[in-house]
Symmetry: none
Subunit: 209 residues, 4 copies
DNA sequence: AATGAATGAGGATTCATTCAT
DNA sequence: TATGAATGAATCCTCATTCAT
């Protein structure tokens, strides 16, 4: 048993050459955008710069993305997919899924991602400025909370009457704990992370109010 | 005994007419900026728009603020001053300052501010984009944490060996709880707030790790 | 035998329509810039004014020129190319290339250009303000000196041991003689020109120091 | 016998305190302007910067100078006065005033000034952009030529029928020789200066055409 | 005489996006 | 599908100068 698939995209089989060429350009664009965002922040991202770095004409960018913002959104989607994949894995791998174990596994998974991919941090934190990204992020946090809630109740880690909203709050809090831990220290402040996990686990372990 | 003064500006007495006119313009500019930020976000703020809405020439804006960003910074300063004032009051008014009581008072004070001034929410949350504002906000959270830590230890609400970093984490968490509570509901989701207070108080009440 | 080609751009054959339209706009921009410079000097040149006079949006100007200064530079390049072309011709046409004859031919060629194109004078003189233009002009004077030196030595007009630096100085002096002759009189003061030629030729004819 | 006074300002005796204070401010302004010009060029000079550096309000600048340009003009006047003073001295000190000696003394005097005061070079060269400064410089060169012509004819160094225009041309040429010598080398290229003197002296020594 | 405040006009440059080809 | 070219609108910010006090 594991976390429900939160986010998915079916991409089966072969593609026509034209599509393949498109894919490559899209990938180039996204990679360029990611690099620029890491270098200068989300706010400073410009279509020109992305296109130039990607080696495609600016106009081509608009073949694949209706608005500049959609590029950022695509990046966020990539990231959330990767995050979901790892979260599902990590939670499924738990031997005894206590609340504390799940919280720790969740936080540590994200920490691993953050440490591997610095772009993740920037996009995740700064990207939240744009309404679309913000909305996406919120929705994603909501979906994560739902999945964790379901898993927790199913696996007995969480009392059956735990309201979804509590898990939702826990997820949001974890988000901030992570932000805080990484804001002080690009490698993530371990002490902060440990205490954060305590706080959230402690909260979820309490008898439901 | 109360919270140490975190932030202050003494502005006593009369002013010369010229200065008074200046003050008015500055106020007009800040008000305009505040409104525009609430309407369209911090990122979309432009000097042109501010000046136009304030009814002053753009050039005048630059008499009082060296850079656009300084306008936002001034807004943040206004807000933090008001927040500090109220926090000091609220904490001082507590009869029996238990951890739980202090946390509740703190959160509720900010909630009151948020409810009174919607601009506060937007600026506080989105403003954090700009490096200067971000730094200011971080520093302010740090100062709040220090003040609360000192007060907690002095008043016996907090065990004497509570590390400052725990209070710092608590403040950050409270920040996010508030953000979360107000993101769903412009009036602030009460259930979220109540649980958030529980979580933070629970965390601070634990025996120190 | 003649002056070495100092500056050249081959632009052969047809162009696609789009490119042709571009060319026209570029020409319009350069023409507008030229006129404005003649009217108000190089320092007063503004992108706005150029664009307006050229009948193109300001933004279009930046399609063809990365910086305002590049417009002036392009003008200078046009002029130097024309100058080089005529100088090569004039010198090649000399029957008996004595020093005096070469100096006279050189000065008279430039005089001809100045008289035909008043913009030349202004850009050539005032343009030297901007670092880029100044550098270009210096380099160009250097190249002219080199070409004349080579020609003079090859043709026997100049003693073989004449140092390049003497010709360099002669070119600079000629530059100023021209400036002076045209500053008093937009048509060029003939008396000054005649004497200037004498001075420079006399200098170059002396036995090398 | 010496060069006629070319440029003068009578400044006798005491001044009222108010005037004295004014003088100080004017001096502060001019000094500030000079420094800024040396640092960033004439074109970049701004009233704000001058006033700030001088420690006077911008508006005060307009009490003493009608236009920004007049500040630069005042600088040029200071410089020309100093130059005239030294030139008169240097020429008067000549034992046997041959043409060659006068030319050399003149050039060397200016070279001395240039070497002592870097601001001189910048203002003298770049300042010529502005019409007013240009006109002033031209007029001054004319006055120098007149004085030298008179001196040369009176002292027998120059044939009595030497036209003024020849000396005028010589002065202009010397100006450029100096410019050229200092453009290559901030200390002034000695070889260029020596040859320049030769060229000009050779020109003036010729039998009048 | 002195000056803090005010400002209209303009500075260069960039933007996301569209469109004709 | 792909793209070079085009652009209206906007960006922040600076300027020399004036004026009320």
């Amino acid at each position: 048993m594991g976390l429900a698939r939160v986010n998915g995209e079916s991409s089966t089989g072969r593609r026509a050459p034209a599509q393949q060429r498109s894919r490559e350009k899209v990938r180039a664009i996204l990679t360029a955008a990611r690099e620029l965002i890491v270098a200068s922040g989300v706010e400073a991202l410009s279509t020109r710069a992305v296109a130039e770095r990607a080696g495609v004409p600016v106009a081509s960018l608009y073949q694949y993305f209706a608005h500049k913002q959609d590029v950022v959104l695509a990046l966020v989607e990539q990231d959330t997919q990767e995050m979901d994949r790892r979260l599902a894995e990590a939670v499924a791998a738990l031997e005894r899924p206590t609340v504390r174990a799940v919280v720790r596994a969740t936080v540590e998974t994200v920490v691993g991602l953050y440490r591997e991919r610095p772009a993740f941090v920037v996009i995740w934190c700064q990207g939240r400025m744009s309404p679309a990204v913000l909305e996406y992020t919120r929705a994603h946090n909501g979906r994560i909370a739902e999945a964790l809630h379901a898993f927790g109740v199913d696996s007995g880690a969480l009392p059956p009457d735990t309201p979804l909203s509590s898990v939702r709050l826990a997820v949001e809090t974890a988000d901030r704990v992570l932000e805080f831990a990484f804001e002080k220290d690009l490698a993530g402040d371990d002490q902060v992370l440990r205490e954060g996990i305590e706080m959230i686990a402690g909260y979820l372990e309490r008898p439901t109010p």
